[in-house]
């Protein structure tokens, strides 16, 4: 047994205490850093030396400086984050359509009511050029409103498409970043855990998962794999880039079209079903409106005794092309009889009655509109409720994860004190041994001097 073993033992204590102090100070410094994982010095007893007296311990070894992170909590938080990203983006997009629709403050319903009121005034005064002019301008107001909603929907869809392309590009960059970090981590691994790189990779992965809903799998060598629908996005240094197009399709190089989760998935869903069905509903409404009005108008007669022409035109059944077809007051088929007597306003009344009588489209226009608004409200409201709910769930999962890997200052102060005491004590031990050696070396053999 070496006489200097004690010094070495004391020194290992000092080293451990220093590592502890430094790690603690790093934890405290990063108390507000997003995505930082608290670290802990893992200490183990050094192997003991066998002496005649038995095994004598040789102090403490620093085994590793580990991140305190729970893989299960991570996975749960990310899954919920992905879902939350998808639902909140979907709700956000649908909310914009509601803004474009403009109901209940101003909107189609107001214009439609105006049309009916103007038609009834015309029925009361069939000879009045003023009343006819009012009808035409009200019809035009209605058509303009419907067109502006249709173009508004298109603009929202176009924006969503651009967002999809732009954000997919960002995701691709993040995928490359993960691949780079994988390489760096694999390179650093033998010397110990590169905690900063691991933290950064976790942050980047969080971002990717929130946008795509990808799954995260850990390889045994410490690198990660990201998959989507079971297809590789990133494996170690390999990256499969996604390609998005404005119509909502995202293609993976290996399998073609894929459905994503996360915010990109929210945009995809909005483009695939959300806006598409709203547009279809609006188109149907506009087509039915045109059919009912046109047929009733055709049943009447103008001043010259000719049957009424179309009131509205709508090309290819798209609300975007909804136009008023009449421009001059004498094109209006006000009269119910071919004799076209001056004060015969029967057809104007019949047009006004479309308010509560089923037209040739088979339904009552105002009821169609109410159903349209209710259905819009229900899909937006439903999406918002789902998004709010999921945000709560995701928040709870995130809190659970943060409670595991976040820094608590009080704890750090406690370890600070503990390590400080350890350092003091180990130093004292060194001093004692030093004194003992001093006696042994300098004062031995001086008896009787």
């Amino acid at each position: 047994m070496s006489s200097f073993l004690g010094i070495h033992t004391a020194y290992s204590g000092i080293r451990a205490a220093q590592a502890g102090l430094e790690t603690t100070s790093n934890n405290i410094a990063n108390v507000s850093t997003r995505g930082y994982t608290r670290q802990r010095v893992e200490l183990v007893t050094s192997h003991a030396t066998l002496t005649a007296a038995g095994y004598i311990g040789e102090g403490v070894d620093i085994e590793a400086i580990n991140r305190l992170r729970d893989g299960f909590l991570d996975e749960r938080a990310r899954t919920e984050l992905g879902r939350s990203g998808r639902l909140s983006r979907l709700a956000d997009m649908l909310g914009r359509t509601e803004g474009v629709f403009g109901e209940l403050q101003f909107g189609v319903s107001n214009d439609l009511d105006d049309v009916f009121a103007a038609l009834e005034d015309l029925a009361n005064n069939p000879d009045s050029a003023g009343a006819r002019q009012v009808v035409i301008s009200r019809l035009d107001g209605l058509a303009t409103r419907i067109r502006s909603i249709a173009t508004g929907y298109e603009a929202i869809a176009a924006n969503a498409g651009n967002d999809l392309i732009g954000e997919t590009r960002e995701v691709n960059q993040l995928l490359h970043r993960v691949a780079e970090l994988n390489t760096a981590i694999l390179g650093a691994r033998p010397g110990g855990q590169p905690n900063d790189l691991l933290d950064e990779r976790d942050r980047v992965i969080d971002d990717i998962v929130e946008r795509t809903g990808a799954r995260v799998l850990h390889n045994e060598d410490g690198s990660v794999r990201l998959t989507l629908d079971g297809e590789q996005l990133v494996d170690r240094a390999l990256v499969n880039e996604l390609t998005a197009s404005a119509d909502g399709t995202i293609t993976h190089p290996a399998v073609g079209a894929v459905t994503l989760g996360g915010t990109l998935g929210g945009i995809q869903e909005f483009l695939a079903s959300g806006i598409a069905s709203l547009q279809a509903e609006l188109d149907t409404f506009a087509t039915d409106l045109a059919t009912s009005f046109n047929d009733q108008h055709a049943a009447g007669f103008t001043d010259s005794g000719a049957a009424g022409g179309p009131l509205f035109t709508i090309a290819l059944g798209t609300a975007r092309t909804f136009q008023v077809a009449v421009s001059s007051p004498d094109e209006l088929a006000v009269h119910g009889d071919a004799a076209a007597a001056r004060f015969d306003g029967d057809n104007a009344q019949a047009l006004a009655d479309l308010r509560n009588v089923a037209g040739s489209s088979g339904s009552v226009i105002t009821e169609d509109l109410q159903a349209l608004v209710s259905s819009l409200g229900a899909s937006v409201g439903g999406a918002q409720t789902a998004a709010n709910h999921q945000a709560q769930v995701a928040g709870a999962a995130e809190a659970a994860r943060m409670s595991e890997h976040g820094v608590n200052l009080d704890e750090e102060f406690v370890s600070l004190i503990a390590f400080q005491r350890q350092l003091e004590a180990a130093s004292r031990v060194m001093t004692s041994i030093d004194q003992a050696l001093d006696v042994l070396i300098n004062r031995t053999g001086v008896v009787g001097r």
Binding site: V31, S32, R34, G95, E98, F101, E103, L104, Q105, S109, L112, D113, F116, A117, E120, D121, A123, N124, D127, H335, D337, A339, A341, R342, F343, D344, D346, Q349, A352, D353, R355, N356, T366, E367, L369, Q370, A371, V373, S374, S375, L376, G377, A378, V380, G381, Q384, G395, A399, A400, M402, S403, E404, G406, V407, N408, L409, D410, F413, V414, I417
Partner: protein, 296 residues
């Protein structure tokens, strides 16, 4: 659960955000007084609100229609009443003419009066209300005129002018001269007056007797149509009352759907303000004194 410093900060911020949102919503509701702004606030309610608004507009329109109908009916009523009273005078004159002994002399004066009354009656039958003939149906012509051969004819058409006064209720607001004055029955008033005039001038007492019978028929026909006009006026009146009442009910229901109960809204706002203050106060203490404060 392990509480970390970041968790405390995050939770505090989230709560503060929630309370601010709730506070803002409560303030909006109290200021605007509206419960539903967007369809998603209440999807079913939104559909109902639109239906009620459309119904409200329809009720307002019905009242406009009723005003219009009433004006036309009143004009017809006034004219028909005047016509009836003039016909009474004609009848008196015919009776007088048939009984008078000095028919060759007095008959001419009576005939003159009859002729002038006839012209007055033609003018009444052709009366217009705001440029619109009262008794010609849809047509923009004088209801009664002499044709090329000097015979009285009805020039209008059979148009029934209708006004919508209820959701599915319409009322006819005109009577046509061919019904009122007997053109349809083949014995029209104006030709009869021509006949009476010539009978008076020629002293045809027997003929006058027959004319008197016809005249009674004419009078009762006009009175009958006066009754039709009166009945229509009554219908318009009662429909208007219903419409006004309906509008009130709709307004009440609409307000229930659209608007917040003010007392409730203000209570809610007050509560949210208290909640905000409480949260802010709590946040002031949310960060417990750190261990650092007690370390030397």
């Amino acid at each position: 659960m392990r509480i970390t410093n970041q968790l405390i900060v995050d939770n505090a911020l989230r709560r503060l955000r929630d309370v601010h949102t709730a506070n803002n919503d409560a303030r909006d509701a109290a200021i605007t007084g509206r419960r539903v702004n967007l369809p998603s606030d209440d999807p079913t309610g939104a559909g109902r609100i639109l239906a009620l608004r459309a119904a409200e507009r329809a009720r307002v329109q019905e009242q406009r229609n009723a005003d219009d109908a009433e004006a036309l009916l009143n004009a017809a009523d006034t004219n028909l009443r005047t016509i009836t009273s003039r016909l009474q005078r004609v009848r008196d004159l015919v009776v007088q003419g048939a009984n008078t002994t000095t028919i060759s002399d007095g008959g001419g004066a009576i005939a003159d009066e009859i002729a002038s009354i006839r012209e007055e009656l033609v003018a009444l039958a052709n009366a217009r209300h705001a440029g619109r003939p009262l008794f010609s149906g849809f047509a923009d012509v004088d209801a009664v005129a002499r044709d090329g051969g000097g015979t009285f004819v009805y020039q209008g058409d059979a148009g029934e002018v209708r006004r919508r006064i209820g959701d599915i209720e319409t009322v006819t607001v005109n009577v046509r001269a061919n019904d009122v004055f007997g053109f349809t029955a083949g014995d029209d008033l104006f030709t009869r007056l021509d006949t009476i005039e010539s009978q008076l001038r020629s002293g045809d007492v027997n003929g006058l007797q027959a004319s008197l019978n016809s005249l009674d028929g004419q009078i009762s026909r006009v009175t009958e149509h006066l009754g039709v006009v009166g009945a229509a006026t009554n219908r318009v009146e009662s429909a208007r009352n219903r419409s006004v009442e309906g509008q009130m009910h709709i307004g009440a229901e609409l307000s229930e759907l659209e608007h917040v109960d003010m007392a409730e809204a203000i209570m809610e706002l007050r509560m949210q303000e208290v909640a905000l203050q409480a949260t802010q106060q709590a946040l002031g203490r949310a960060f417990p004194p750190s261990l650092a404060s007690f370390l030397q």
